[in-house]
Symmetry: C2
Subunit: 219 residues, 2 copies
C-alpha cells in the first residue's frame, strides 16, 4: 500500500481499490467453493465482505455481466472468471532483492505458491549469503542481476533492500524489462507510472491508520 | 490492506483511502520541511503525489480549512496539523505476536520509531526463543500475554503467527482491551468492526494487483 491508492488506472480504467476488492471476492469465493457452496447472492457475498452490495455489483460491472437474477452468482464460475481477470490463471516467476529477515519470511510464506507466485531467485551483495539457499531458493550475487532475471524468466521483483541502494537496484531491474514490483523498502521508488507498476507495502502507514482510528475512538 | 478498503468509516466518516493518503501527504511534507521548503501550492503537492489537486483539497476538507489563496500551504503548519489528525503526536507501545523471521524484520525496520511506534515486547511459544532478545526487545512466553500487554501498556499488536493459532491469540488480545491490530497472517481475523480495527498486510493480494496490471498491459 499505497501507491495503489493513488490515481492508478489500468487501460480498462479500473480503480486499484476495485482490483484489491476483486482479490478479496476471489478469496471468499474460493473458501465457499471449498465448503461445497454452489451459488451465492450478491447480498450474501457483500455481507461476507462487509461492504454494500451496490459496491460489489459496481466492481464486477467493470468486467461485464455476472450472476442470474434470483439465482445469484455461480461460485465456481465467478471464481474462475475473477482468476482470469486478475491474471492468476498463469504462474509468475518472482525474485527477491535482499536476502535478509524479510526475505526469509517471504520464502517461507505459505500464501504465494497456491496463487501461482513462485519465488525463484534471491539476490544479495553479502558474500556470506551468496551461494546459500533460503528454503531451497538460491541466493545470487546481485552483480549478476540481469543474468539472473533472464535465467529465471522473472516477471515480478520484490524489493526488501535498504533504502540507500533500493532506487539503484530498482532502476537496473526496470532496464532489464521488469514491469511489476512489490516494494517493502520505506521509500517511494521513482518510476514512470505509464510503464511500471509498483505496489508499496508500507507498514508504518498502516500503523498510522491504526493511530488515526485509536485517536478517533477516544474522542 | 484491506480491511482497509472496505466500508470502514471513522466517527468523522472519513474513508480509509483518505486516511492512507493523509499518511502520504504527511511523508511528502516532512521531506519538503527537511529540504527547507516553507510553502507549497495544492497543485505542487498533488503533483508530488501524482493525484488531482481536487482530490487533495477534498481529503483535507474533512478536517477544516487549510492553506491560503495565492500562498498555498504552510509546510510546517500542515505537517503538524496532519500529525495531530493522525494521532502520531503521541508515542504508541507495540507488541509483536510471533518471534520469527518477520518479527526480526519488523524489530530492525527503521521506519517505526521516528513516527512514534515503539515495539516493546515480542511473544512466542517456542522455548528456544522465550527469554531471548531481538534487537534489544525481549521475547516473552505467549502464555503470559495479558500480563505482558498490561506491563508494557501495549496499544497496538502486530500479528505474525501462523494461521492456525492467529484467531485464538487475537481474541485473547481483544479480551485484554487491545483495539488496533496490524495483521500479517494470511487470514481474515473475525472481529467486531465497531470496536476493533484490523489493518491487514496481504502481500499475496498485492501480488495479484501486480498480476492484474501485467495482464492488462499485455492486452
Amino acid at each position: 500500500m499505497d501507491d495503489n491508492l493513488m490515481e492508478f488506472r489500468t487501460s480498462t480504467n479500473v480503480p486499484e481499490v476495485t482490483v484489491r476488492r476483486l482479490c478479496q471476492y476471489s478469496r471468499h469465493l474460493e473458501d465457499l467453493r471449498d465448503q461445497g457452496v454452489k451459488n451465492i447472492s450478491s447480498k450474501a457475498l457483500s455481507e461476507l465482505m462487509q461492504i454494500k452490495d451496490s459496491q460489489l455489483r459496481k466492481d464486477l460491472a467493470y468486467f461485464g455481466a455476472f450472476g442470474v437474477r434470483g439465482l445469484g452468482y455461480d461460485v465456481e464460475g465467478l471464481s474462475s472468471r475473477l482468476a482470469t481477470i486478475l491474471g492468476t490463471v498463469k504462474p509468475y516467476s518472482v525474485a527477491v532483492l535482499g536476502a535478509g529477515n524479510l526475505c526469509a519470511a517471504l520464502t517461507s510464506y505459505p500464501g504465494f505458491k497456491p496463487h501461482g507466485f513462485h519465488i525463484q531467485a534471491l539476490l544479495d551483495n553479502d558474500e556470506n549469503k551468496i551461494g546459500r539457499e533460503f528454503h531451497g531458493i538460491q541466493v545470487y550475487d546481485v552483480k549478476r542481476l540481469p543474468e539472473v532475471l533472464e535465467m529465471h524468466g522473472i516477471e515480478i521483483v520484490i524489493v526488501t533492500v535498504p533504502v540507500k541502494i533500493a532506487q539503484e537496484l530498482f532502476d537496473q531491474c526496470v532496464e532489464c524489462g521488469i514491469k511489476a514490483f512489490l516494494n517493502f523498502a520505506p521509500l517511494r521508488l521513482m518510476h514512470d507510472r505509464t510503464k511500471v507498476k509498483v505496489a508499496d507495502v508500507d507498514a508504518s502507514c498502516s500503523l498510522k491508520v491504526l493511530s488515526f482510528f485509536l485517536t478517533q475512538s477516544e474522542e
